[in-house]
């Protein structure tokens, strides 16, 4: 299910912002729940894989702090870990919902310079091509009689140097051809218009407004705890973005 990239982007910033502002265990726990719930709409296996990496970091935080400051640091370690888990979870949700193509549309919408956006788009387009080149170059090396597996580690590294040189030169030549093709397609343009920009409909507008309101509420929580719990749960409105 595809959710609007702009909504997820603002939601992501909100989670990061809140996790830096909140200090209490309760608020950070609520925030973690808010950052976790959207995963039910996504590929949970992939999400769990992302989160597994951060569990190692959590373990490190606990062990490191306990060694340095003793058991008195348990509270500190828990809040730090919740912060880290919320942020990691938000990024995992972002990367599982916004593909590169939509990321580019998002950057265009955010008025990033056209050269940066097109460069990013080109990197997406030519990354698999470069990987393919690297594989083919390795095959050519084998065809020339270079056997990578049979050698010792030092020799293996040494025998790969010409491979990198070859890959670099091919990429360099390709980049000139890409530059030529860009010129011939009228780029960079004085006034470039995007054919199918990221559309923000009524539902998205409401969600964005809700999230922006939450920014204010979280900021307010620094001075008064009245609505703090509510502000930690408002990010859950993103669920609305996953439904039709």
């Amino acid at each position: 299910m595809r959710i609007n990239a702009m909504v997820v982007f603002i939601w992501l910033i909100l989670i990061v912002f809140a996790s830096l502002i909140f200090n209490s265990l309760l608020l950070l726990s609520l925030l973690f729940i808010s950052s976790l719930v959207p995963s039910v709409f996504l590929d949970f296996k992939k999400y769990a894989k992302y989160m597994l990496y951060s569990l190692f970091a959590v373990l490190f935080i606990f062990v490191f702090n306990t060694i340095l400051m003793g058991f008195s640091s348990l509270m500190f370690s828990t809040t730090m870990s919740l912060r880290l888990l919320s942020i990691t979870s938000a990024f995992a949700i972002f990367s599982l919902t916004v593909d590169f193509e939509h990321m580019i549309l998002l950057l265009e919408k955010l008025k990033f310079p056209q050269k940066s956006v097109v460069s990013l788009s080109l990197s997406l387009r030519f990354f698999p091509v470069a990987i393919n080149d690297a594989e083919r170059i390795k095959e050519v090396m084998i065809a020339r009689g270079v056997h990578f597996e049979k050698k010792k580690m030092k020799e293996r590294i040494k025998s790969r140097i010409p491979m990198f040189s070859s890959l670099f030169l091919i990429s360099l030549e390709r980049s000139v051809q890409i530059a030529e093709a860009l010129e011939l397609r009228g780029f960079p343009a004085e006034k470039r218009l995007v054919w199918k920009p990221l559309k923000i409909g009524a539902k998205e507008k409401i969600l964005i407004l809700g999230l922006l309101f939450d920014f204010a509420l979280i900021f307010y929580s620094i001075f008064s705890p009245s609505f703090a719990e509510l502000s930690a749960l408002i990010p859950l409105i993103i669920v609305g973005g996953f439904t039709k």
Binding site: S121, I142, S166, L184, R185, P188, A189, W195
Partner: protein, 526 residues
């Protein structure tokens, strides 16, 4: 109209002028074909029109060029795109977006057109070129031919007055190349767009052009109706060549120069009479025997129980449509991929097998032609590196270029260089994957000579769509289809009297009565 007046251009990193004393006019709606050997100035000619010269490639610019009233010297390429569309040689590197629709829309976005107008033009061009089905496809998943069609669509979406095509079919198999050339002809016929086509392959192309311009060392040495120009100039000596039927007509001093098989039917009727093919079949032991070979990529079967023997001497040709598994088979024989089933019996060591890849750039390391060729011997810990490298350079005719960076070589020279990086260790089995793609006639002849000599004492496995080359060099030919060798035998058995695999000359003799139907190339007539 495009007009060149006393035009000269020299690239800033070169001593000699790439184009000299160019004076010509190209009328609106003309289909012009531009031919010449490597380095004759064909690409420079196109760059002078789309204004990449002098804005992208700087240098000494003399004289005047006018393109539909605009002067490229003071018009940036982006402003020229509204008049001139350009399609480059490599289908991979000119497509910049990730999806076909967005690729076609990209130049239109740069023109600042409204979303509505862009949609209209994208739909229009997808429809015109019959590629609606590609609309949402990822560029990386397209075939070479499809990529080139998308590149043409992207250029044509800008509604240019003239379309420049720099060897658009050189990386494609003959079938895809034919569909691209037909498409170009349709654009010229139906839309009246002027066409300037640089092309090496003359058969199936030159007869479609209104005009042929021949360049040599930066000068126009022929300009006019294709048949007239080809009668007047010795195209073989210029390294450009003729379509096979035209070469036979010249061999027999015919008054009329046919450019197609249809035209040749009446003209060449008598030249095949009395020609009889006499060949002795030589029994040669196998260098590699393949039994029930199986292979697949991520669950998709490519080779399904393939059986095949490669003789230890001579050229064995492998033919088959795109995606039939020819390259995979070659990589397995070369020891690059491991078979997933079946058996391969080698009568040589695996490191005595060498393979030249389709893309010669992959053989470049980048120091110099000499160093890159010598690297093969050094990596294999072999002796007499200098002596053997120099010998190969001499054989390939690359001695004078030995200190140059391989990437500075022309396409044909690069192929010879790639061949050098492999034959320097004298493999007992040499595998070549599509070696003639994008090669000029002159370099093709050189390659043929080299392979003929090499195959006298060693085995060559030649994978190619180029039926003329297969017919000239091979003794045995095998047809690969559906992951198996479905036909194999003497080249005349396989290549004669076929509707799709026969070379041009055999297609001609198939219709004649009382003529040896096993004639394949003009060499059979000598």
């Amino acid at each position: 109209m495009i007009r060149f007046e006393n035009f000269r251009f020299r690239y800033s990193n070169s001593q000699r002028f790439a184009l000299r004393d160019i004076n010509l006019k190209i009328e609106d709606g003309e289909f012009v074909m531009l031919v010449g050997n490597s380095g004759s100035g064909k690409s420079t000619f196109l760059r002078a029109i789309n204004s990449l010269i002098p804005h992208f490639y700087g240098g000494e610019y003399c004289g005047r060029v006018s393109v539909y009233g605009k002067n490229p010297e003071n018009t940036a390429p982006r402003d020229m795109t509204k008049i001139v569309g350009t399609v480059l040689q490599d289908p991979e590197n000119q497509l910049l977006m990730n999806e076909v629709g967005r690729e076609i829309a990209f130049p239109l976005e740069n023109m600042g057109l409204s979303a509505k107008e862009i949609t209209k033009r994208v739909e229009d061009i997808l429809n015109l070129l019959d590629i609606e089905h590609l609309r949402h496809r990822k560029i990386e998943n397209l075939s070479g031919g499809e990529k080139q069609k998308v590149a043409i669509a992207s250029a044509m979406a800008m509604h240019p007055r003239v379309l420049l095509l720099d060897e658009p079919t050189s990386q494609l198999d003959p079938k895809s190349a034919e569909s691209i050339i037909s498409l170009i002809e349709r654009i010229n016929d139906e839309l009246g767009t002027s066409i300037l086509l640089v092309e090496h392959r003359l058969e199936n192309t030159v007869h479609r052009a209104d005009r042929l311009i021949v360049l040599r060392d930066g000068e126009v040495i022929g300009d006019g109706e294709p048949r007239v120009i080809m009668e007047k100039l010795d195209m073989d000596a210029l390294g450009i060549g003729y379509p096979p039927v035209a070469r036979v007509a010249r061999m027999f001093h015919k008054d009329y120069l046919p450019l197609t098989v249809k035209e040749a039917r009446k003209v060449l009727e008598d030249v095949f009479l009395g020609v009889e093919i006499k060949e002795k079949e030589e029994m040669v032991e196998s260098v590699v025997s393949i039994i029930n070979l199986q292979f697949g990529y991520s669950g998709k079967k490519v080779l399904t129980g393939l059986n095949f023997d490669i003789p230890s001497r001579g050229v064995t040709g492998i033919i088959g449509r795109n995606g039939s598994g020819k390259t995979t088979l070659a990589k397995i024989i070369a020891g690059i991929l491991k078979p997933q089933g079946g058996k391969i019996k080698y009568r040589v060591k695996k490191n005595e097998i060498g393979m030249v890849f389709q893309n010669p750039n992959l053989h470049v390391i980048g120091k110099s032609v000499y160093e890159d060729i010598a690297y093969t011997l050094r990596a294999r810990n072999e002796k007499n590196v200098e002596e053997r490298t120099m010998k190969v350079l001499k054989t390939l005719g690359l001695e004078e270029l030995k200190d140059r960076n391989p990437l500075d070589l022309s396409g044909g020279e690069r192929l010879l260089f790639a061949l050098g990086t492999i034959i320097v260790f004298s493999p007992k089995l040499l595998i070549l994957d599509e070696p003639t793609r994008g090669l000029s006639y002159g370099h093709k002849i050189k390659l043929e000579e080299l392979l003929r000599e090499y195959s006298k004492s060693r085995a060559i496995l030649l994978i190619s769509h180029d039926m003329e080359l297969i017919a000239k060099l091979s003794s045995k030919v095998a047809l690969l289809s559906e992951g198996k060798i479905v036909l194999e035998g003497n080249k005349r058995e396989i290549l004669s009297s076929s509707l799709s695999f026969s070379p041009q000359l055999n297609k001609l003799v198939q219709r004649y009565e009382g003529v040896d139907k096993r004639i394949l190339t003009e060499e059979d007539l000598k």
